[in-house]
Amino acid sequence: MSAEVHTSTVTRTVNPFWYTCRKNPLMLAGIVVLVIILLLSLFAPLISSYEPTKINIKDRFAPPSAEHWFGTDEVGRDIFTRILYGARLSLGVGVAVVLGAGLIGTVIGSISGYFGGRIDQIIMRLMDMILAFPSLVLAMAVAATLGPNLQNAMLAIAIIKIPVYVRLARAETLSLREKLYVKAAVTFGIKPWRIITRHIIPNAISPVIIQVTLDIGDAILLVATLGFLGLGAQPPTPEWGAMISVGWKHLLDYWWYPTFPGFALFLASCAFNLIGDGVRDILDPKANR
């Protein structure tokens, strides 16, 4: 115990990122996997000579080989290539949706917490309504109502993610509002909107950041789930969920078709979850210890 205290004081000057990675190898693993996926998808045109949507009927259902590492699908598209391009979509959409939901939820939550009263009541009842539904059911309902495409799937996922951020930001705001520096800012004459954006949100943000990193993996899965159910990205877009959706019908005959996109999905969401846990340990050392 005392030795540990000692090392931690000595290594305080060390870059905190590397320090945390050393103490948390799982997070490091998550980062490594994520970086690899990102690089692969970024340089997909250099890595693969195939096009993700180019149909080549005579090569359909080719098993994994030197030519097609992960095999081909029912119209002869290279699955490896489609996974690489699909990563852009899945990761991009996952990150964008969660960031959007985090931002909107934080603003709504801090307004709710700061002003209290009627506004707070109305906002929180609305959030309770959203939370009352199982999230996937609600996302499906929203996506189905608005029409099955990627934008609507993103909107649906954002809607089910917002309440968590509203609650987090509201709880944080309620305690910050009582802080003397916020009260002092009021006496200095600073306007409510500025107090919320400059004095409350910047100091309420760390639980939101933790939640964002934890949610990205989940959002990627949700995007894929909606794609799988035909409520998200539509063919021929190379989206992992949509690929699995078509592929799993062929699982018994052509095992590679759904397996590789499934594995990619698994890796990516695992990577984000590991990173999310690590970020929580950094920003909130009290939790989980």
């Binding site: 209290g116 009263g117 802080k179 003397l180 520096y181 009260k183 002092a184 800012a185 009021v186 006496t187 200095f188 004459g189 600073i190 306007k191 409510p192 500025r194 400059r198 004095h199 910047p202 100091n203």
Partner: protein, 320 residues
Amino acid sequence: MLLDIKELSVEFASMQGNVKALQNISFSIEKGEIVGIVGESGSGKSVTALTILGLLEKNASITSGSILYKGRDVLVMDKREQQALRGKEIGMVFQEPMTALHPTMKIGDQLAEVIKRHRKLPHKEAYQAGIKSLAEVHIHDPELVARKYPFELSGGMRQRVVIALAMAAPPDLLIADEPTTALDVTIQYEILKLMEELSANRGTSIMFITHDLGVVAQMCKRVIVMYAGEIVEQGETHQVLQHPVHPYTRALIGALPDLADPDEPLLAIPGESPDLRRRPAGCVFASRCAQALPLCQEERPGLEPVQQQNESHYAACWVR
């Protein structure tokens, strides 16, 4: 008259009944005047300050009275008008300088933010004005301090920054709620001098809340003594301190630690202040008063002039 409070009463709703924190208090502050407000913990000093600024908690209600600031009643103003008053007309300095500043914003940016709000300057000029205001509160290296975060500053420095922020507009009334209690004695003295100087140079009135009668003697022209949400005595500082009339004021002065003899035990006033949910029918101090008469239990004494010909010294006591 800059501030004129009349018959102000404030209550807080609570589970066990309403806490009557202020009961019919009336006092006024002239332009440029420094007025001390003294009284033990829970006597309603901070509630008075927060009421003036319109910052009472949601469970508070103002049950009677008016607060005229420059002739306008702040209690009937809408939220926007009250907002316009804060900082611009009435500033406030708090007891805890350690926590009164934005923890993750640099001092210079905090000042610029407030100055921009009141003087409508572009950011750069507001920042420069902020540096100037740091110099005015006698911070020696204002450029350097402007680039620091609050946690890098000592308590005395932070209190100077808070004063600079509160005086940014500059306001005509500064409410200082025990601004030096949390500071070392030598720094306390410097901060008091600074406030006196700012008041003298700019004609700012100060409502100075404190536990410390020594500070009152040094700073304040007039003093108001509060007990259990009521004003029990008020007058020119020298009159009140040299010829206190109310037994509570006398006890307070008796409770002053004798600076010449630090070993002498502090004379605490025996007993506890009354439950503010069930105010006594008679004098609020009766339960602790050595001079109490039977009348004191039944009838509340009014705040009356101590002598017929002297209209500046008042006390609320049957015995005089």
